[in-house]
């Protein structure tokens, strides 16, 4: 019971911060709300006994990626206190609404399918670093190597993008 209550509380925070991210006109505040969103999302992971995933969500998303986002916002000088103005081009707004409502309908339809069934009981060991370690370095080892290649490409790409033209 308490768990379910907690879930709805956290879900409320997650959804409202997510709505805040898109509706806020100030990019820095949006980014800050996104941090709050990631943080409460991590708490939801904890609730699903995926603690390793949850803590990495905080380290990587809330702690690293959002710092980069803030840097980029400040780099491009987007965060001026005056609210940003968007050019209102005819088709964009209805299209955005259409896509958003479509996605929402899709989610609701999937939620309705499982609405009556009792929640599945997670194995308490499923989210520990130990379980994930065994999975990563035995069964899914190829994926680990692919991720390694991907990250190396990321390093090279980011350096190429940021390289000084004169150098």
């Amino acid at each position: 019971m308490a768990e379910r209550l907690l879930f709805f509380l956290l879900a409320l925070i997650v959804v409202s911060t997510a709505v805040g991210v898109v509706t806020n006109r100030n990019p820095v505040r949006s980014a800050l709300l996104l941090v709050a969103n990631f943080f409460s999302l991590a708490l939801l992971y904890f609730l699903l006994s995926a603690q390793f995933l949850g803590v990495l969500q905080i380290i990587v998303y809330a702690g690293a990626i959002m710092v980069l986002f803030l840097f980029v916002i400040m780099l491009l000088n987007l965060g001026s206190p005056e609210p940003a103005t968007f050019s209102e081009q005819g088709y964009r707004r209805p299209l955005a609404w259409l896509i958003a409502l479509g996605m929402f309908a899709l989610l609701v339809s999937q939620a309705l399918v499982v609405a009556g069934t009792p929640p599945a009981q997670a194995d308490p060991q499923v989210g520990t670093a130990r379980t994930i370690g065994y999975a990563l370095f035995t069964e899914w080892s190829f994926a680990v190597v692919v991720v390694g290649v991907l990250l190396t490409v990321g390093v090279i790409g980011s350096i190429l993008l940021a390289r000084r033209r004169s150098a």
Binding site: F71, L151, I159
Partner: protein, 149 residues
């Protein structure tokens, strides 16, 4: 399992309250007598020039980017560190091979970054000036110390 984490939630709530009280308290306790001069941003007593919200060097952005990538790489290694001691011998060799390849990729990326100068924080003009030149320097006493390169 989940119950282990419940005290943390309680702690978060308490810490948020403490932090907000610290931030909001002065609004209740302190006097408020704002004047335009008091409110202007501090620039050593001189009237502020322009806005502080200027663009800043791409280097900070690059550092954050590289930090994310290496953070993710290290995050992949933590589960390996946890299980290394208890892995059965035959799986251990395999897992170590995987981690070896993964780390090798990490090191390749790191060396690329190093050689491409993504880690250089010196000003390029300053750097050129500090490079040792062929002709003798007329003022040896003022020659910069070349320990950092």
């Amino acid at each position: 399992m989940v119950a282990d984490y419940a005290p943390l939630l309680l702690l978060f709530a308490i810490a948020i309250v403490i932090a907000l009280v610290m931030v909001g308290g002065s609004w209740l306790l302190g006097p408020r007598r704002p004047t335009p001069a008091k409110q202007s941003s501090y620039e050593c007593g001189i009237t502020p020039v322009g806005s502080a919200r200027e663009r800043f060097p791409i280097h900070f952005y690059l550092t954050a980017m590289l930090f994310i990538i290496f953070d993710v790489e290290v995050a992949f290694l933590y589960p390996f560190f946890v299980i290394l001691r208890e892995l059965p011998a035959e799986v251990r060799t395999f897992a170590m091979g995987i981690v070896g390849v993964f780390t090798l990729l990490l090191i390749v990326g790191f060396l690329y970054e190093w050689k491409k100068g993504a880690l250089d924080w010196e000003d390029p003009i300053e750097r050129r000036r500090l490079q040792p030149t062929a002709e003798p320097n007329p003022q040896p006493a003022l020659q910069p110390v070349s320990g950092e390169q």
